[in-house]
């Protein structure tokens, strides 16, 4: 039973493989499915609701997601590195309080106060979360769960659980003034996106983040400074959470201890819907942008349609689970899902 060894199956297999490459690079962008849903959803709302596709509504949509957007970009770094930062909401609130104190009580010029606030967020994230996760080697879940509670406690103590007004023309401009037709908050969002995209794609540090998330052991044995990479990742997450806090204060005109309590869920959902793996090592900020816009369009569209906002939760939750399911199905030939595939037909049909 020898099937002619003369024909050359090696090269044949190679050409087949090459043909599949272009296809693979396309399907590798794991957010494409969600992007498609986003586009369909956008078109649907545009045609059915006359008030959806107006420049006023779209601007308010973008401004509305700006806080979630910058925090989710930070969360993308954490998740790409194989972790998660559960303390983003508390850092956001704490940064708001800090900004209020610096600007109002201490009386610093607003520009300096904002810079110090951002620095404070980076230090909280880097020197506390990042230090314990990256350098000491504790579990990221435990550390950031703990600091989330801790920071929230500090917020409540420091603010006396009271919301204080922060009056600053500069902050008002930041939230409400237009520049080249778009609110400044939206420009900040774009800038953060571009910088994150550049850092992840075009620096060795960006590669390190993927490498540490993909296989920390192998990264360490290749000479990559895993601890420092993780520390910097959590510093970035902290910095962007603080930036979210600054935008929050600017939009409300006050520093409130109550903000950001559920932010971590939305941010995590946006990152996962955007196709970044919860195991780390694959995904990116383009997907996260799609994920955030998905949440934003869904919420805004349903609001414009006059549908109860709880439907947004139902749809978001379902899409999140489906997105992760698709990723898992694609990622591996899992036994546990074997039955799903057999449904198609136990193919003993060739007889």
């Amino acid at each position: 039973m020898v099937t002619q060894p003369e024909n050359d199956p090696v090269n044949e297999g190679r050409t087949r493989q090459l043909a599949s490459n272009s296809l693979r690079s396309l399907t590798d962008a794991s957010f494409l499915g969600v992007l498609l849903i986003l586009v369909v959803m956008f078109l649907y709302f545009s045609f059915t609701q006359s008030s959806f596709l107006t420049s006023g509504n779209l601007t308010s949509l973008l401004t509305g997601v700006s806080i979630l957007f910058v925090v989710s970009i930070g969360m993308t770094f954490a998740m790409l590195s194989g972790g998660i930062d559960l303390s983003v909401g508390s850092i956001l609130a704490l940064s708001g309080i800090l900004l209020g104190k610096l600007a109002t009580d201490v009386g610093l010029p607003i520009g300096l106060a904002i810079l110090l606030t951002l620095l404070g967020g980076a230090l909280l994230g880097g020197l506390i979360n990042g230090f314990f996760v990256g350098i000491v080697g504790l579990s990221f879940l435990v550390v950031t769960l703990g600091t989330n509670i801790l920071f929230r406690g500090v917020v409540n103590l420091w603010s006396n659980t009271k919301t204080t007004q922060v009056v600053s023309p500069f902050l008002e401009d930041l939230a409400f003034e237009d520049f080249l037709g778009l609110p400044i908050a939206v420009w900040i969002m774009f800038a953060v996106f571009l910088m994150a995209f550049y850092v992840l794609r075009n620096t060795y540090f960006g590669r390190d983040v993927y490498a540490v998330g993909g296989n920390a052991d192998a990264a360490r044995l290749s000479g990559i400074n895993v601890g420092r990479t993780i520390l910097l990742v959590y510093a970035i997450t902290g910095l962007l959470s603080a930036l979210g806090g600054v935008i929050q204060v600017a939009r409300v005109g006050a520093a409130s201890p109550l903000v950001g309590e559920t932010l971590v869920f939305d941010a995590t959902a946006a990152v996962l819907i955007g196709g970044t793996s919860f195991k780390g090592g694959s995904g990116g900020v383009v997907g996260t942008a799609v994920g955030v816009l998905f949440l934003g369009v869904l919420q805004n569209g349903l609001a414009v349609s006059g549908v109860q906002s709880f439907w947004q939760q139902v749809v978001t939750g379902a899409i999140l689970v489906i997105a992760v399911l698709i990723e898992t199905l694609r990622g591996s030939e899992r036994i546990s899902l074997g039955w799903l595939r057999t449904r198609g037909g136990g193919r003993q049909a060739s007889r």
Binding site: M1, V2, T3, P5, P9, V10, E12, G13, R14, R16, Q17, L18, A19, S20, N21, L23, R24, S25, N202, T203, Y204, F205, R207, D208, Y210, A211, G214, N215, D217, A218, A219, R220, L221, S222, G223, I224, N225, S277, G281, S282, E333, I335, G338, W339, R341, T342, G344, G346, R347, Q348, A349, S350, R351
Partner: protein, 512 residues
């Protein structure tokens, strides 16, 4: 169930056809065909070898047989009845059991508990019936002539004993066909012999075995017939008596592989690496040796003798180590991989997937990872130059499947080609000493020979080359000198001309 058993005997008497027959097995992943009209036929009570290079489709075929993967089309009969496809539980019930490289035992449970794991009959309403479990387990162990204590905790067993437990579990489920996928890769020669005893025992009881191994010696020793797969196609089904190693390799790689004699050892260069009084409490004791420039030295020993630990220690992975390490006369003591790399040391770990590669990342990124690890982190990686570097590596090391595909994930390459990329990644740092732990584990014969060639050529660059391997033939093929380790100590140093498998085995088992 006695009636079923008698039915089976009758079936065997009446049916002179094969026990398991698979025909027309097709499977593709995306645009890549893993199997094209592959076939496999296993007789009653036969040990059947399934042989092929990495990427030939062996694993896919096995996964289809045990229901883990759904074929595009296939025609599979077991004892004349069609086998349900794509369902692992039904394959198991039908009588196909698999013992893979990764053990599926629960380490914290006893042998008996593992054997009856998941069986309903042993469960009472108040929980597990320990006595019944143990009785059932002992019965199976006796049937296989295995001297294992059913109460022993699996964690404390030797690797071969754990494999016996897996086989016992398969047999307790009335397996008719047992699939052993690379069962010997982590076993010593003695343990392999005891495994073969069990396989022969099963054969007498009419249980057939599909035996998959890269070690041709074992294939010739244990199998009756074998099927050779190449690029997803069944190229031959032959009785083992009609084959020799040369013919078999030719069938596997599709051409004659010339076994080049190893390059002559260069005139012993000056000392490159000097290790003195190296010790890690409880692991390595008082190890000293020297390696010359361009010299390849091997480390032999049983699993746990300390040979991989020795390499890890030199690379700075054991913080509690003591001793002295010098390269070219300068201190090269390292407290971690980064310092080791600054000292000019490279380490190719044994476990490619766990420690050598970052699977979700691209071929190109994996290749350049080590030698760019010391650059400023905010620099922009020069993509064009990396592509050129990859092209060069692909040409020099003959990395199949990587041409023009630098951006493809490294996981899309076959095992042997992945290993070449791991090697290339470390050669790119231009090391003064390169430590290789099991450099060809899980790599097919063709790629193995190529990797040996790469190491031979590397001599001219003059690094000290240290190889730890569980395959004696590999050490004998490669090394100028072989250090044999036993319980954390170097017990002897053998020159190439004095070394043989028998001599190494003698020292490796603690004789002097």
């Amino acid at each position: 169930m006695p009636s079923e058993a008698t039915d089976r005997v009758v079936a065997i008497e009446m049916n002179r056809g094969p026990l398991l027959s698979a025909r027309g097995v097709d499977k593709h992943y995306g645009g890549v065909y893993a199997l094209t009209d592959a076939s496999l036929e296993v007789g009653h009570g036969e040990v059947h070898g399934l042989i092929g290079e990495n990427g030939s489709g062996k694993s896919t075929l096995l996964k289809i047989l045990c229901g883990q993967t759904m074929p595009d089309s296939a025609d599979i009969d077991l004892e004349g009845a069609p086998l349900p496809l794509g369902n692992p539980v039904r394959s198991l019930v039908a009588g196909i059991a698999t013992v893979t490289q990764e053990t599926t035992l629960v380490p914290e449970l006893s042998v008996a508990e593992n054997i009856v794991l998941g069986r309903r009959a042993i469960r009472r309403w108040w929980g597990l019936d320990r006595k019944a479990s143990r009785a059932r387990a002992s019965e199976v162990l006796d049937r296989l002539d295995l001297r294992l204590d059913p109460r022993a905790i699996v964690e404390r067993l030797r690797p071969d004993e754990r494999q016996m437990v897996e086989i016992a579990r398969a047999i307790s489920m009335d397996a008719r066909v047992l699939i052993l996928d690379e069962p010997t890769s982590s076993l010593t020669d003695e343990e392999v012999e005891s495994l073969f005893g069990v396989i022969r025992n099963l054969k007498e009881r009419g249980v057939s075995t599909i035996f998959v191994s890269h070690r041709l010696k074992e294939v010739f020793e244990i199998t009756d017939h074998l099927t050779v797969l190449r690029d997803g196609v069944t190229v031959a089904r032959e009785a083992i008596a009609d084959l020799d190693a040369g013919k078999l390799i030719a069938l596997m790689v599709g051409k004659q592989v010339d076994h080049k004699p190893p390059a002559a050892a260069p005139a012993a260069g000056r000392t490159r690496l000097e290790v003195s009084d190296l010790a890690v409490p409880g692991i390595i004791e008082d190890v000293s040796f020297e390696v010359g420039a361009g010299e390849i030295v091997g480390f032999a020993g049983l699993v746990g003798a300390g040979r991989s630990e020795l390499l890890k220690t030199i690379f700075g992975l054991h913080p509690s180590a003591e001793g002295r390490i010098e390269i070219d006369g300068a201190d090269a003591w390292s407290r971690g991989p980064r310092q080791a790399m600054r000292n000019g040391i490279a380490f190719v770990p044994a476990d490619r997937k766990e420690q050598g590669l970052i699977l979700p990342m691209s071929i190109r990124e994996n290749l350049v990872m080590a030698h760019t690890a010391r650059l400023r982190r905010l620099r922009r990686p020069p993509r064009r130059r990396e592509v050129d570097q990859l092209d060069e590596v692909v040409a020099n090391l003959r990395v199949a499947g990587a041409t023009g595909r630098g951006g493809a994930p490294i996981s899309s390459l076959s095992g042997g080609n992945q290993q070449k990329i791991v090697l290339a990644k470390w050669l790119a740092v231009d090391p003064k000493a390169i430590l290789l732990d099991e450099p060809t584990r899980g790599v097919d014969v063709g790629a193995k020979e190529e990797i040996y060639g790469i190491l031979d050529r590397l001599r001219t660059n003059g690094p000290a080359i240290l190889v730890s391997s569980s395959e004696m033939s590999e050490l004998l093929r490669l090394c100028d000198r072989i250090f044999v380790m036993y319980r954390g100590k170097i017990v002897t140093c053998l020159a190439k001309e004095d070394a043989s498998e028998t001599v190494i085995a003698h020292y490796a088992t603690g004789n002097n």
